[in-house]
C-alpha cells in the first residue's frame, strides 16, 4: 500500500463525521486568528512605539562626544563638528540633520521644581529631523521673535500647572560648574504620545543659551535623518572615523530598551503562540481518540487482514495532521485579511489613551505582522500537529485485533 492510498483513506476518514471535524477545524482557525491578531497588535504597538521615538526625538543616528554620553557635562561638545557637517552635507543618504545643545537641569516655577533635559535647538533645522512641531497641542512652535521662549510637554505642564506665557526658570551648571538660571516664557505645549518623554524634556532656542553663556561654544547632540532607517549601519561606519572623540550611535544603540523590545517580542509571541496551539492540540487529540474508539473494530480488522503497525500509525497520523492542515490556510487567510484591513484603518484605542501614552504610543493602533511570522506560525501548526498525531496513533496500535473484531 503506497502513501497515496493511505492519504486517500485518511482524507476520507476525516470527513466521516463532518460536524466533529468542522468543530475541530474551526477551533484551530479561531485559535490561529486569535494568536495572529495578538501578534499583529503587539508588533503594531511596538512599531508605533519605535516610530514615535525615532520620529519625535531619536532620529536615525545621533552623534555625541563620548564624554558627554558618560556625564552630560556641558563642556563635552561634539568634536570635529565642521568636518562632520561637511561629510553629512555631501552624503546623499542623509536627508537632514540638526544640532542641539543639551543641558540637564531643573525647571521651576511658583508651583515647584522638576528635573528636566533641555534641548537647545535651531527650530528651522529641527523641523526637518524630528516632528515635535506636529505635536503642539497648545500655542506655537517657536513663532515668537523672542529668544527666551520654551516648549514644554503636556505632562510637565500639568504637573507644574503651566499655561501659555507662564514664566519658568531653568537652572543648570555652566562650564565652570557655576549654577546658571535662565528665564523662559512658555510658547507652546506638546504632546508626543510618550508621557515619560513629555515630562522630562523641554525645547528652547539655541540662541537663548549661547547668548547667556558667552564662554560656551559647540553642540552636544547631532540627530541625523536618513533616506532609510536601515542605512544607519553603513552611515555610522562612515562617520566613526571622522573623530575618535565622538560616539556615533543608531537609534537602537541609544534606546536599547526599544531595540530589545523588538527581539523580546518575537520570543514572547512564539511562546504565546505555542501555548495557544498546544491548547488546541488537546482538542485535536481528543477528537482523534474518540474517532479511534468508534473505529476500533475497523482498525482491528485492518490489523487482522495484514495491515502492519507502521501503516496503521501513518493512517491515524495523517488524519490528525490533515485536521490541522485544513484549518491552517483558512486561519492564515482570515488573519491576513483582518490584519491587512486594520494595518490601514487602525483601531481606535482612545479609551485607554493614558495607558498607551505611558507606553509611548498614540491612540490609533495599526496592525502589523511581518510576512515571516505567517511562515513561522504555519511551521508551528505543522510541528504541533505532528506531535498531536503521535498519541492517537499509539493508542490505535494498542488495539487488539482479536478483541476489536469480536465486538458487534
Amino acid at each position: 500500500m503506497n502513501l497515496l492510498t493511505l492519504i486517500k483513506i485518511s482524507w476520507r476518514n476525516i470527513w466521516r463525521n463532518k460536524l466533529r471535524s468542522f468543530v475541530v477545524i474551526f477551533s484551530i482557525v479561531f485559535g490561529l486568528l486569535g494568536g495572529i491578531i495578538i501578534i499583529a497588535m503587539s508588533y503594531g504597538l511596538n512599531e508605533e512605539r519605535m516610530n514615535n521615538a525615532v520620529d519625535t526625538y531619536l532620529s536615525h543616528i545621533q552623534i555625541h562626544n563620548i564624554l558627554f554620553s558618560e556625564d552630560y557635562n556641558i563642556k563635552h561638545t561634539i568634536n570635529n563638528l565642521d568636518i562632520i557637517e561637511k561629510a553629512i552635507n555631501e552624503d546623499e543618504r542623509v536627508v537632514s540633520y540638526s544640532k542641539r545643545i543639551v543641558l540637564n537641569g531643573m525647571l521651576s516655577n511658583s508651583n515647584g521644581s522638576y528635573g528636566i533635559q533641555v534641548k537647545g535647538i535651531e527650530p528651522e533645522k529641527e523641523v526637518k529631523v524630528t516632528n515635535t512641531y506636529e505635536k503642539i497641542i497648545d500655542g506655537e512652535y517657536f513663532k515668537s521673535k523672542r529668544d527666551n521662549t520654551i516648549l514644554v510637554g503636556k505632562k510637565l505642564a500639568d504637573k507644574l500647572n503651566l499655561n501659555l506665557k507662564s514664566k519658568v526658570v531653568i537652572t543648570f551648571q555652566d562650564e565652570n560648574y557655576e549654577l546658571t538660571s535662565l528665564l523662559y516664557r512658555v510658547e507652546g505645549i506638546f504632546r508626543s504620545g510618550n508621557s515619560r518623554y513629555d515630562e522630562m524634556n523641554v525645547f528652547v532656542k539655541n540662541k537663548s543659551i549661547i547668548k547667556n553663556l558667552p564662554g560656551f561654544k559647540g553642540y552636544h547632540e547631532m540627530p541625523i535623518l536618513l533616506n532609510d532607517i536601515d542605512l544607519r549601519g553603513e552611515v555610522k561606519k562612515d562617520l566613526i572615523p571622522l573623530s575618535s572623540e565622538n560616539i556615533v550611535e543608531g537609534w537602537d544603540d541609544i534606546s536599547k530598551e526599544l531595540a530589545y523590545a523588538n527581539e523580546m517580542l518575537s520570543a514572547v509571541l512564539y511562546i504565546f503562540m505555542m501555548i495557544i496551539l498546544s491548547g488546541l492540540s488537546f482538542g485535536v487529540v481528543n477528537t482523534m481518540l474518540m474517532a479511534i474508539l468508534e473505529r476500533r473494530k475497523e482498525i482491528g480488522m485492518l490489523m487482522s487482514i495484514g495491515m502492519n503497525r507502521y501503516k496503521i500509525f501513518m493512517m491515524i497520523s495523517l488524519e490528525t495532521i490533515f485536521l490541522s492542515l485544513i484549518a491552517l490556510p483558512f486561519g492564515l487567510l482570515t488573519s491576513y485579511m483582518i490584519v491587512d484591513y486594520y494595518s490601514v484603518v487602525g483601531i481606535d484605542l482612545s479609551v485607554v489613551e493614558a495607558g498607551l501614552e505611558n507606553f509611548g504610543v498614540g491612540t490609533r493602533l495599526y496592525f502589523k505582522v511581518p510576512n515571516e511570522e505567517y511562515f513561522n506560525v504555519s511551521l508551528m501548526v505543522f510541528v504541533i500537529s505532528i506531535f498531536s498525531s503521535v498519541f492517537p496513533s499509539i493508542r490505535a496500535l494498542k488495539i487488539n485485533p482479536v478483541e476489536a473484531t469480536k465486538t458487534i
Partner: protein, 225 residues
C-alpha cells in the same frame, strides 16, 4: 494442509484460568469446506483465531504448509496473514469510506501488487460474487448480504491458502445466507479454496462437507460427509 498439534489456549492463566482451546489436534486438507460448531463458549472463535495467527496459543503448534506459524514474530505473522489467510467477519468490517471495489483492492495494495493485476483481480472477484454493477457503491449503500459478499471477495483478493470465517451468516437473512453459501461453495469447488467456518447456523452446517464439533475447547465430534 493446515495442522494443529495439541493446541492449547488458556485465558487468565493462574487463578481463574479458562481453557478456551484444550489440546486440539486436527488436520484440514486443501479444499475442505469445514464448519466448526459448538455451543457458545465452546472455543470456536478462539480456535479459529489461533489457526489464523490472530491469537497466540498458550502451547501447541499451528502448521500451515509445513510452516509453524506459532513460531513467527509479530511482524512476520502480520505479513503471513496478509499473504496466506483470508478473513471473513460476522459484522463484515468493511471500510466505510471506501467503495466495494476499493475495499477488495485494498488487500492487494497492502501486498504491493501492481495496478494492472489489482484491477483485473478485483473485476474478477466482483463478477464472482455478483457485485460488479455495484462496485462503486460504499458499504452503507449495500445490503448486509452484499456487504458480506464484498468481505468474501476481499478475503479472496490476496489469493490466500485458506479462508477463516467467523459466523459469516449470523447477520444475514435466509436469502442472503443461501446466496453467500452458494458463492463460497462454488469458489470451494471450482478454485479449491479451503474454507473453515465457525457457526451456529444450521444452514451452514447443512452445506459443510465436514463438521467439527467443539465443547469446552475440545473436539467432541468430527464428521466428514
Amino acid at each position: 494442509m493446515i495442522e494443529t498439534k495439541k493446541l492449547l489456549k488458556i485465558y487468565n492463566p493462574g487463578k481463574y484460568e479458562v481453557k478456551a482451546v484444550n489440546d486440539v489436534s486436527t488436520v484440514f486438507a486443501e479444499g475442505e469446506f469445514t464448519a466448526v460448531v459448538g455451543p457458545s463458549g465452546s472455543g470456536k472463535t478462539t480456535f479459529l483465531n489461533c489457526v489464523g495467527g490472530l491469537d497466540t496459543p498458550s502451547s501447541g503448534d499451528v502448521i500451515i504448509s509445513d510452516e509453524n506459524i506459532t513460531k513467527l514474530s509479530g511482524a512476520e505473522i502480520i505479513k503471513y496473514r496478509l499473504n496466506n489467510i483470508g478473513f471473513v467477519f460476522q459484522a463484515y468490517n468493511l471500510i466505510p469510506v471506501l467503495s466495494a471495489r476499493e475495499n477488495i483492492e485494498m488487500i492487494m495494495l497492502l501486498q504491493g501488487a501492481d495496478e494492472k493485476i489489482r484491477k483485473s483481480r478485483t473485476d474478477e472477484l466482483l463478477n464472482q460474487v455478483g457485485l460488479y454493477e455495484m462496485r462503486n457503491r460504499r458499504p452503507s449503500q449495500l445490503s448486509g448480504g452484499q456487504q458480506q459478499r464484498v468481505a468474501v471477495a476481499r478475503a479472496l483478493a490476496s489469493k490466500p491458502k485458506f479462508i477463516l470465517a467467523d459466523e459469516p451468516t449470523a447477520n444475514l437473512d435466509t436469502s442472503s445466507t443461501s446466496n453467500l453459501l452458494d458463492i463460497m461453495n462454488k469458489l470451494n469447488i471450482n478454485e479449491k479454496i479451503t474454507f473453515i467456518f465457525s457457526t451456529h447456523d444450521q444452514r451452514v452446517i447443512d452445506r459443510a462437507r465436514r463438521v467439527l464439533t467443539l465443547e469446552d475447547g475440545k473436539i467432541v465430534n468430527d464428521i466428514k460427509k
